[in-house]
Amino acid sequence: MELFKEDKVYNFLGKGKIFFVASFILFFLAIAIVATKGFSFGIDFTGGSVVQVKYTQAAPIDKIRESLQKSKLFEHAMVTEFGSVQEVVIKTPSSTVGVNNDIGDMTKEILKGTGDFEIRRVDMVGPQVGGELRVKGLTAFLLTLMAIMATVTFRYEWRFALAAIIAIVHDIVITFGFVSYFGVDFNIESVAALLMILGYSIHDTIIVYDRVREYIEESKETDFVQIINEAVSRTQSRTTLTSLTVFFVVLTLFIFGGDIMMSFSFPMLIGVIVGTYSSIFVAAQLVVWTGFSVADYRQRMAEKVKMHAEKEKMRSQFEGGVV
C-alpha cells in the first residue's frame, strides 16, 4: 500500500502562513490557559498524600467525604472516583511524618464504617522532597535542550538547531496547554512524557533535516523553499507512518493504562500529534526564517571538501616521502 503520490512535491511553504498563524494562535492560547488555569500539580511536586481505596461494592463517596471532613488532616482532601465505581482516590495536601502511624493508617481508621474496603496504595511526599524534584526536572529539561542544540549544530548548522529548539518548545507548550485545560495531574511521569515528546519531536525534525541537507548537497537547486518542499514531501510518507505506529501504541497506553498512567499517556497522546504536525509544517520552514542561505552553505561545504582534499594530499605526499 502507498499513501502518498510517489513523485509529487507538495507546496508546504506556499501555505506556510496559514500554519504559522495556526501555530501562533495555539501557542499563545496554550500559554494563556496555563497562565490562568495553571496545572493540577501532583503530590510529587507539591507534597501531600494520595490514598487509593477499593471497596467491595460501589464506593460511598458522600459518606467518605463526610467521614474525612471530621479530621483536620483531610480538611482540604479531594475524593474522586478512580477507574471504576468501586475505587476512589483521596488526595490531600497534608502529609505525616510518623513511620508508625501514617496517613494510610489514619485513613483506614477514619473510613471504618463506610463499608468493606482495602487500601491499595498510599503515596506520601513530604514538602521538602517536592521542591528538589521541581529543580531537578527543570534542570533535566534545560540540559536536554542544550544537548540537542549542540548536537544539531555540530551535525547541521546553528540555524537548524535554533529552528528545532523553537519547534520543540512549540510542541511542548501546546501539549501542556492541553494538560492544563483538561486538568490532568502533572506528576513526575508528566516530566518523563515531556522529555519523551522532546525526544520524539527532535527525532522527527532530524529526519526531515537530513533530507534537506541531502538535497542541498546533491541537487543543483538554489531555491531553499523548493528544497524544503521537496524534502518534506519525500519524508512525509515516513513521518506519517511512524506517527501512526507511535500513535497506536500511545493510544493503547491511554486506553489500557488507566488512570494511573494518565499523567504520562495523556501528554504523550497530544505530544505525538503536535510533534508530527510541527515536523511537517513548522520545523523546516522555520529554518527559512532564520535566514539560512543555500549558497553560503554550499560554499562552506566546498571549502570543507577542499581543505579535506588538501589535507589528504599533504598526507599522501608526506607518507610517500615526497616532501
Partner: protein, 525 residues
C-alpha cells in the same frame, strides 16, 4: 555468494536474546532476572529522614551518665549534676578532687571542658557534633538493615540517599498488617535504659509537673502497661542499651514471653555497682521512654543480665528482641516520602500494561504487514527480536522493571519500527527511480543510516540526561528506552538487512514488489 555476516549477527542476537530472557519470562531458578519494581509487584518504599539533633542530645546524656558513674565509683562528691540541650554541668564539692576528675575527661574524646572555679561545663566540640550526626545516620542505616534482615523479608533495600536520608524498599509485603509490622520494626527506637527510681519524691509524682521534675534532676515517665500510672526516675540513666550484647525471648513462670537481655562487661560492672549500693530501692527498666517494670533490688545483681516483662504476644516479643539486638536508633527517624502499593494493585498494573503492550504490538504488526507486505514482516521480526534483546539486557544488568519502564517498552514498539520505515521508504524511492533491486536495497540502507544515527544519538543523549536527573521510576524509563534504542539500531539496520540478503535471489526473480514491498507498481529497470 557473498558471505552473509549480517544474518550470522542476527542469529547470534536471537540466541542471546532468548537465552537471557528465558529466566525472566519463566521465572526459572537459574540465571539473571529482571526484578519487578515495587509499583508492579507491590511493596513499600520509604524515604526516611533522621533527626540528628536528638543524637547529639543523647550523646550529651551518655556523657552525664559516665560522669555520674565515675564520681560515684571514685567517691568524688559533686552537686547539681544536670544536662541542658548541649552541655553537662556540675559543681565539685571538694576542690581536691579536681585532679581526679580531670582524668575522666582526659580519656574522653571530642569534649570541651570549661572550668570556672569548681563549676564544670562539658560540651561537645563542633567536629564531634558533626561526627555524631553523621554517625547517627550511618548507625540508623545499619540498624534498620539488621532488623529487616532478621525480619525475614526477601531482598530488603536499605541505602543512604543524599547526605542524611535513608531509602528503604521492601518488596513482597503482602498485607497491610505485614506492612504495619515492618514499619513498627523500622521506626522503633529500641532505646533501653536502666534508671533509678527517685525513692524520696516518688510518692508525690502525681502532683509534679515535668518542669518541677526536671528542676530536681528527675523525669516523669509513664508506665507501659497501666494507663495513668507514672514513675519518677532520676533523669540520668544508670546505663543504656549501648551496653547490651544480647536479647532473647524467654518465658516466665506463667509461661508468658519475656525478653531477657545480657550486658557487656562494662555494663555488668556498672549494673553490679549500682545494685550493690541500692538494695531495697526500685530499679526502672525503661524502653522507649516507658517504664516496663520497676522491681525492688533484693541484692547485688552480678553477671549483667535482666528481664523485660510486658504483656507481649509471641510475635511482639520477637520483634522487640530483634530491635534490641540490632541496637537502638541513636536518633529518631521520620518519613519524608512513602509509597506503598498493594500486591493486587501491582497485579492490576502488570495486567494493564501487558494488555497495552500486546494490543499496541498487534496494531503495529498488522499495520506494517498491511502497508509493506513481506518487508513489513521482516520489520516486525526485527521488533520482536528487539523486545527480547531489551529483556535480555535488562536481566543481565539486573535492572528493575517499573510501570513507567513498561510504558517505555510499549512506546518503544511504536518507535522501533521507525528505522525500518525510513529504510523501506528509501528502498521504495530507489525502485521508483528505476534502480535495480539489489542496489536499491543497498542504497536504501546506506542513505537511511545517516538520519537514523543522527536522530538516535540525539535521543540517547536525552535518555542519559533523563537517567542522571531522574528519580527512581524515571530512571527505569530511561534505562528501557536507551537499551531499546541501541537494540533497535542492531536489529533494524544490521539484522533486517541480513534477511534481505538471504532472500535477495528470490526477490530479484519474483519481481513481485507488491508481495515484497507492498508497492502497487514500479518502473522496470
Amino acid at each position: 555468494m557473498k558471505f552473509n555476516y549480517r544474518i550470522i549477527i542476527f542469529a547470534i542476537s536471537i540466541i542471546f536474546a532468548i537465552v537471557y530472557s528465558v529466566p525472566s519470562i519463566f521465572q526459572t531458578k537459574w540465571g539473571p532476572k529482571v526484578t519487578l519494581g515495587l509499583d508492579l509487584q507491590g511493596g513499600l518504599h520509604l524515604l526516611l529522614g533522621v533527626k540528628t539533633d536528638e543524637a547529639v542530645v543523647s550523646r550529651v546524656k551518655s556523657i552525664a551518665s559516665s560522669v555520674k558513674h565515675y564520681t560515684e565509683h571514685n567517691e568524688i562528691l559533686v552537686d547539681s549534676l544536670g544536662v541542658t540541650a548541649s552541655t553537662v554541668e556540675f559543681t565539685l564539692l571538694d576542690h581536691d578532687d579536681a585532679k581526679n576528675i580531670s582524668k575522666l575527661f582526659a580519656d574522653m574524646k571530642g569534649v570541651k571542658v570549661d572550668i570556672k572555679g569548681d563549676s564544670y561545663t562539658v560540651s561537645l566540640t563542633p567536629e564531634e557534633i558533626a561526627k555524631t550526626k553523621q554517625q547517627a545516620v550511618t548507625q540508623a542505616i545499619e540498624t534498620i538493615r539488621n532488623r529487616l534482615d532478621q525480619f525475614g523479608l526477601s531482598e530488603p533495600v536499605v541505602a543512604r540517599q543524599g547526605q542524611d536520608n535513608i531509602l528503604v524498599e521492601l518488596p513482597g509485603i503482602k498485607t497491610q498488617a505485614e506492612e504495619q509490622r515492618a514499619r513498627e520494626l523500622i521506626s522503633r527506637s529500641a532505646k533501653l535504659e536502666l534508671m533509678a527510681v527517685d525513692e524520696g519524691r516518688g510518692a508525690r509524682v502525681s502532683t509534679l509537673t515535668p518542669l518541677d521534675a526536671s528542676n530536681m534532676g528527675d523525669e516523669i515517665l509513664p508506665d507501659a502497661q497501666m494507663e495513668g500510672v507514672k514513675h519518677l526516675v532520676h533523669e540520668i540513666p544508670i546505663l543504656d542499651g549501648g551496653m547490651l550484647t544480647d536479647a532473647r525471648v524467654e518465658f516466665d513462670k506463667n509461661n508468658r514471653p519475656v525478653i531477657s537481655f545480657t550486658l557487656n562487661s562494662e555494663g555488668a560492672q556498672i549494673f553490679g555497682d549500682f545494685t550493690a549500693k541500692n538494695v531495697g530501692n526500685h530499679l526502672a527498666i525503661v524502653l522507649d521512654g516507658k517504664v516496663y517494670s520497676a522491681p525492688v533490688i533484693n541484692e547485688r545483681i552480678g553477671g549483667g543480665s535482666g528481664q523485660i516483662s510486658g504483656n507481649y504476644t509471641m510475635e511482639g516479643a520477637q520483634d522487640l528482641a530483634i530491635a534490641l539486638r540490632s541496637g537502638a536508633l541513636l536518633a529518631p527517624i521520620y518519613v519524608m516520602e512513602k509509597r506503598s502499593v498493594g500486591p493486587s494493585l501491582g497485579a492490576d498494573s502488570i495486567h494493564a500494561s501487558l494488555l497495552a503492550l500486546v494490543s499496541g504490538f498487534g496494531l503495529v504488526v498488522l499495520f506494517m504487514i498491511f502497508y509493506y507486505g513481506l518487508a513489513g514482516v521482516i520489520a516486525n521480526l526485527a521488533v520482536v527480536v528487539n523486545l527480547f534483546i531489551i529483556l535480555a539486557l535488562m536481566s543481565l544488568m539486573g535492572a528493575t522493571l517499573t510501570l513507567p519502564g513498561m510504558a517505555g517498552i510499549v512506546l518503544h514498539i511504536g518507535l522501533a519500527v521507525d528505522a525500518n520505515i525510513i529504510i523501506n521508504e528509501r528502498i521504495r524511492e530507489g525502485f521508483r527511480a528505476g534502480i535495480p533491486t539489489r542496489r536499491a536495497i543497498a542504497e536504501g540502507y546506506s542513505k537511511a543510516m545517516r538520519a537514523i544515527l543522527d536522530s538516535n544519538i540525539t535521543q540517547l543523549l536525552a535518555c542519559t540526561i533523563l537517567y542522571v536527573y531522574g528519580t527512581g521510576a524515571i530512571k527505569g524509563f530511561a534505562v528501557t528506552l536507551s537499551t531499546g534504542l541501541l537494540a533497535s539500531m542492531l536489529t533494524a539496520i544490521v539484522c533486517s538487512y541480513g534477511i534481505y540478503e538471504l532472500f535477495m535471489h528470490r526477490i530479484e526473480e519474483s519481481k513481485n514488489y507488491t508481495l515484497w514491498f507492498g508497492m502497487s507498481r514500479r518502473k522496470e529497470a
